[in-house]
Symmetry: C2
Subunit: 424 residues, 2 copies
């Protein structure tokens, strides 16, 4: 616990900023950081806007950007970064796997004022794949990738430390439909199967902690065995990995290293609360960072909506950090427009959860009062996407000071406002 | 109860069809109809495809179409009807308030193979508004409107019978932010305030029951006092109206008339389950037909997503019938594209709820198996919107038999499939 006190002291300015933004006391944030229930990802080389993630704070949203092998349009990725900032992303991950990955990451870090995360093993695996095979990665390759990202200023890194040799054996015995769907997870599962050796990130976890402490990056303990279908949700291999991660969370705290835990994935609604409660119990209230969750498998093209349903519910039940999902999920690399749609869907989910937890309702109240007053200017101001609201509205042809264009002259609000005003 | 037996007998063919579609026994459906826990809206003049709504059946979705004063494009409305049929709407309401409302309704009834609902008081109110004032409607005007719709073959009608003089007094005393936002509700509240008389639909409810019995339409007991903002959700006036509707449900059953109950509206997530449980208790398990619910007020332009979050959760907790919400909600009349987006969001919500309740998972399983096999043809076949999935996919440039275009060569599924196949 002494190490966490040191961490708390190092993060003093960030703790102050988070307290201000969230409207809670500094002591509350400091206690959360010390207990490992709140993380504030920040690498001093990047030094992003302070973003607190965890218990008692508002729900945060992460956007993924990055090139693929097939599509390396750096300017388009930078446009996605700008869209993410404009529409209020709290953090951004660069998942580039194509082109000059180093220079793209540096560019993103230089333009991105919010915390930036990466999955270093992508770059390492792809570099080796270009030379021959992912499974030829050495332990040094893996750790050198992490060091490189740390030196560039990456604030948080996904590391799939919970995948063990034993877990891969269990996976072989399991009746899963979709096997392993995490990219980083699949690299390590393949590596373990091919080399018949233990996962280097698990075996050398103490070394990883030394690096995290030295460079001050936050660990995002990845769920490489997360379910890839609602059918596989909450199964033995998934929960076994979570148990492994729970042990590692305690080692992070002993070392004074900030850590959050990643979660699924594809999960039907009736299993989401159990997933959150398990994480909170087994990982001793480490911040829970979920991908979606996706509450059905059948809606490719609309997975941002599927993820918003799952994310809103998960966050209400205690998930702290939502990784957005775009309409392009399962189909193609998202365009800038997809990034915007995915981010807004996720922001809606986060806000709906905050509202259910008694936070953030002032904005809804202001919007509702503006609606009652038929004050379109004030409505646009409170809208999550002012431009879209204006565009939809401008299609109608009713005067701005009338009701919405649905009803025209027979606006419900107008009729009763008039009567209640005169009569009460 | 004798009357409900008669109803059950009249609906014998429909009960058979519903049982087949839902994969339950005819006895189960018959008992539900007799108990008033399942409705099968059908006017013999229209005779739509049998659609069962209620306990133990899959969640159903309704689409609203119709002209407004400002926009009377009949062909566009008919395009919306075709889109609704194509993407699997279970019922459709014609809410036209502009142009030749009678002929539009007749056209919709003639082309629409699923149950069609209306809110007759819209037309009545607007006809009177054109002549002078909504509040000049007579009791005869109101009931003649209902009779006209019944004779045209309308399968279910929203009737705001629960708004009473006493309730309007209560409303005047309430600190609501958004007052009355239901159009039909506002007509009747205004009428009561102006005429200082009891709501004709409440006062003459027995006459309404006679009409419903004679013409065999289903009553959808409207929630004219539903909250128009999360701030107003689950307040005294809303629940008071629900209590009134609960009493009317019993009178429907005594008369052998099918009835469902409409519900909100704007409701934060943490109040949705209470709303469902209250309706089920107070209205003795009458099918619950909710609008959204919308779990935040701040996302105009994205209310289909807001409604999908609320609808999925409400349906999981027992709501039976979801009225869709389009991205144009609160802003303008929806376009055909908005209708499609709203319907699909609502279908996703309904399916997510079904899945959480243990229904409909076969399709998710088939999709997931297709994903594991990288079988794109099978994926498209199971997709809720095959065209959109194909369009997103075709933006990628990877070969069809490879992984999704996100990862290109380094597809997680491919790598591990290969290893697990060779090794296990």
């Amino acid at each position: 616990m002494g190490s966490m006190v040191g961490l708390k002291n190092r993060l003093e300015p960030e703790i102050k900023n988070v307290a201000q933004t969230e409207g809670v006391t500094e002591e509350f944030v400091a206690r959360g950081v010390e207990a490992g229930r709140i993380v504030i990802p920040r690498n001093p080389i990047h030094s992003p806007k302070a973003c607190g993630i965890g218990e008692g704070l508002s729900v945060k949203v992460n956007v993924n950007v990055g090139t693929s092998r097939d599509r390396v349009e750096v300017e388009e990725e930078m446009e996605k970064v700008q869209i993410s900032l404009k529409y209020g992303a709290d953090a951004l991950m660069d998942l580039s796997t194509g082109g000059d990955i180093d220079s793209i990451r540096k560019r993103i870090l230089s333009e991105c004022t919010i915390p930036v995360g990466t999955v270093p093993i992508y770059q390492t695996g792809i570099r080796l794949a270009r030379k021959g095979a992912v499974v030829d990665m050495t332990e040094d390759d893996i750790f050198n990738g992490i060091i490189q990202h740390a030196k560039d200023g990456v604030d948080f890194m996904t590391v799939h430390c919970g995948i063990t040799k034993e877990l891969v054996d269990r996976l072989k015995r399991s009746p899963r439909v979709t096997g392993v769907v995490s990219r980083g997870g699949s690299f390590l599962v393949a590596w373990i199967l091919h080399n018949e050796m233990e996962n280097p990130l698990y075996k050398n976890f103490d070394y990883l902690l030394e690096l995290a402490k030295e460079y001050e990056f936050t660990l995002s303990l990845g769920d490489g065995i997360r379910p890839g279908s609602t059918n596989d949700a909450t199964d033995g291999p998934q929960i076994n990995e979570l148990i492994n991660l729970g042990e590692l969370v305690h080692r992070c705290r002993d070392a004074g290293v900030q850590a959050m835990v990643e979660g699924p994935g594809h999960v039907p609604m009736n299993q989401i609360e159990a997933n959150v409660r398990l994480e909170k119990r087994i990982c001793d209230h480490a911040p829970f960072y979920v991908l979606g969750p996706l509450v059905t498998d059948i809606a490719p093209g609309y997975d941002h909506i599927v993820g918003a349903i799952g994310g809103a519910y998960a966050a209400w039940k205690g998930a702290d950090f939502l990784c957005y999902v775009t309409p392009a999920e399962h189909l193609s690399l998202p365009t800038p427009e997809d990034v915007k749609e995915g981010l807004i869907a996720s922001k809606i989910a986060a806000h709906a959860a905050d509202l259910a937890l008694g936070r953030g309702g002032d904005r809804d109240l202001r919007m509702s009062q503006a609606r009652k007053d038929l004050n379109w200017g004030a409505m646009y101001e409170e809208a999550i996407d002012e431009e879209k609201a204006r565009a939809y509205r401008s299609r109608g042809i009713t005067n701005e000071d009338e009701g919405c264009s649905m009803c025209g002259d027979v606006c419900a609000i107008k009729i009763v406002n008039e009567y209640l005003k005169n009569r009460s």
